[in-house]
């Protein structure tokens, strides 16, 4: 039973960390270099 609990906890910690990562990515400001690169690719297309 304890091993099952441990696996469950680890699997869900991964999920929580992933959700946090997504939220961080969504609100993260783009660096100027990255923005310029994206605008360049927009212009080319």
């Amino acid at each position: 039973m304890p091993i099952n609990n441990l696996i469950d906890t680890l699997l869900n910690i991964w999920v929580f960390a992933f959700i946090g990562f997504l939220v961080w990515l969504y609100f993260k400001k783009e660096s100027d270099g990255n923005k310029a690169e994206n605008q360049k690719s927009d212009r080319e297309s």
Binding site: I7, D8, L11, N12, V15, F18, L22, L25, Y26, E30, S31, G33, N34, E37, N38, S41, D42, E44, S45
Partner: protein, 494 residues
């Protein structure tokens, strides 16, 4: 070609799974079943939450000003007529599953739910659950994946790869390259295993049809092997020629046969009963679908949670397994449509068709059980593959309808394998829309080997758990590329 490490690792990985399955089929099925059990217990809530959020996101995008954005340049026009477009996306997304599960799935749910309530409520709920599995939630997974691929490929000029949105939005960095590479690998792996399962399901279905036609009893693996060989021979030629027009013809033919079967069963079966069931299930579905997406059966007994895992969660990851393949395919045929048009077409039309399909085939099954005491539940328990054919045998012209079902199943599997080989080859060569024929043939062979593994397992439950294990990681990728889309949309002027 073999200097590409992604291709080499993907081929090795899928090849090893195929080899393991051929050498020790039961061992692979046991391992997959126990791993998916652990994953579903711990992450079932996350899968349901993620899929429900995708549905809500699709609804929001369709009604928001972003709906006006074209998937392509502003002056691009759709390549296919709307009817052809809908038929192709539906054939790619559901295909043989509809023929297999039409009656079998509602009755399987009914068999469990009737232990908890009376027969009439159990039938109603069984139909709702079936529609839930094949409706908006399934199509939201496909729609979002396809939308991301189409938006970045046709509007931003990126290669058609799962990794492309990540690199396009967050730039060429070490972590984006690593995550992008892993995403492409997981996409290839999920597609390969998912299509292997579809081949097996198609072969089981065709096998039952042939047994029914020839009056054979439990023909065993030899007939499955013959059908499998014919299937492999049939998809070699389409892999060697340009697929665009040919695939449209094959998909349209398969869908036309399925549509004709649907109308025939509706008219030849108890029409008033079927139409009443469909009308009821439309109301029931749209009244309960969104809240039910958040249902995880936490406080129910072991029997219910196990049923939830082996059906609802399995179906959701099944759609996830198919998402990279169907997503790319839908994206490719949707160029020139607006986001609103795309989402409404991809979400609503197949959902209504599914409600109609399961309404017809499901309620014919319920009519047999509840009204005329036909031994359909015994057929379901003894040989689930034969359920659809049992229903057809109760109606007139059964030889013709069984032949039509076998033919449609065959065409659905061939179109799936050919399209999947194309998408896998495209991924493996960096998103080139015209991958080399040799590459498509290699993937055709790998898909065949994976299909053979699943056939050898001789169990639809084993097929479901093998697919589940391969597809689970893809839920993370779908969410990641969704964030990429949302970030990219912020910079659109609407």
């Amino acid at each position: 070609m073999f200097k590409n490490p992604l291709l080499l690792i993907a081929l090795t990985l899928t090849g090893l799974v195929a080899l393991w399955g051929i050498v020790d089929t039961a061992g692979l099925a046991r391992f997959s079943s126990s791993m998916t059990g652990v994953m579903f217990t711990s992450r079932g809530w996350f899968i349901m939450l993620a899929v429900s959020l995708l549905v809500i996101l699709c609804i929001w995008l369709a009604i928001s000003p972003y709906g006006k954005i074209k998937l392509g340049q502003d002056d691009d026009e759709p390549e296919f007529s709307t009817i052809s477009w809908l038929s192709m996306l539906f054939a790619a997304g559901m295909g043989v599953g509809l023929l297999f599960w039409g009656t079998a799935e509602p009755l399987s749910h009914f068999n469990v739910i009737r232990d908890y309530t009376d027969n009439f409520q159990a039938a109603e709920h069984a139909l709702f659950i079936t529609n839930f599995h094949w409706g908006l939630h399934a199509w939201a997974i496909y729609a979002v994946t396809g939308l991301v691929m189409a938006y970045f490929s046709f509007r931003k000029g990126c290669p058609t790869l799962v990794s492309a949105p990540i690199k396009a939005v967050f730039g060429q960095r070490n972590w984006t390259r690593a995550v992008g590479w892993l995403s492409d690998l997981l996409a290839i792996y999920a597609i390969a295993i998912g299509i292997g399962g579809s081949i097996a399901m198609g072969v089981f279905q065709i096998q039952s049809g042939v047994e029914s036609l020839l009056g054979l009893q439990n023909s065993g693996l030899w007939l499955a092997a013959v059908i499998f060989a014919v299937l492999c021979l049939s998809y070699i030629l389409p892999l060697m020629v340009d697929l665009s027009k040919g695939m449209a013809t094959l998909s349209n033919t398969a869908m036309a046969i399925a549509g004709a079967l649907l109308i025939f069963v509706l008219l030849a079966g108890p029409t008033y009963y079927i139409m009443s069931a469909i009308t009821g299930s439309i109301g029931d579905y749209f009244a309960r679908v969104i809240p039910h997406g958040f249902q995880t059966y936490t406080f129910f007994d072991e029997g219910v949670t196990s049923w939830f895992q082996s059906w609802t969660l399995t179906f959701m990851v099944w759609w996830l397994a198919w998402a990279p393949f169907v997503g790319v395919f839908i994206a490719r045929i949707s160029r020139g449509r607006t986001i609103r048009e795309y989402l409404l077409g991809v979400m609503l039309v197949p959902t209504f068709f599914s409600i109609f399909w399961f309404g017809v085939f499901g309620s014919v099954g319920f009519f047999g059980v509840l009204k005329i005491d036909a031994p359909i539940m015994e057929v379901l328990k003894s040989n689930i593959n034969d359920t659809t054919f049992f229903v057809l045998r109760q109606l007139p012209l059964s030889t013709l309808t069984i032949v039509a079902t076998v033919l449609a199943a065959f065409l659905f599997v061939v179109t799936s394998v050919v399209s999947a080989s194309f998408v896998l080859s495209m991924f493996a060569v960096g998103g080139d829309l015209n991958p080399p024929t040799r590459m498509k043939l290699i993937w055709g062979a790998i898909l065949g080997a994976l299909g053979l593994v699943m056939i050898l397992s001789n169990s639809i439950d084993a097929v479901k758990s093998i697919i589940g294990l391969a597809a689970l990681p893809f839920v993370f990728i779908v969410l990641l590329i969704t964030v990429c889309l949302l970030k990219a949309l912020k910079s659109e002027e609407v």
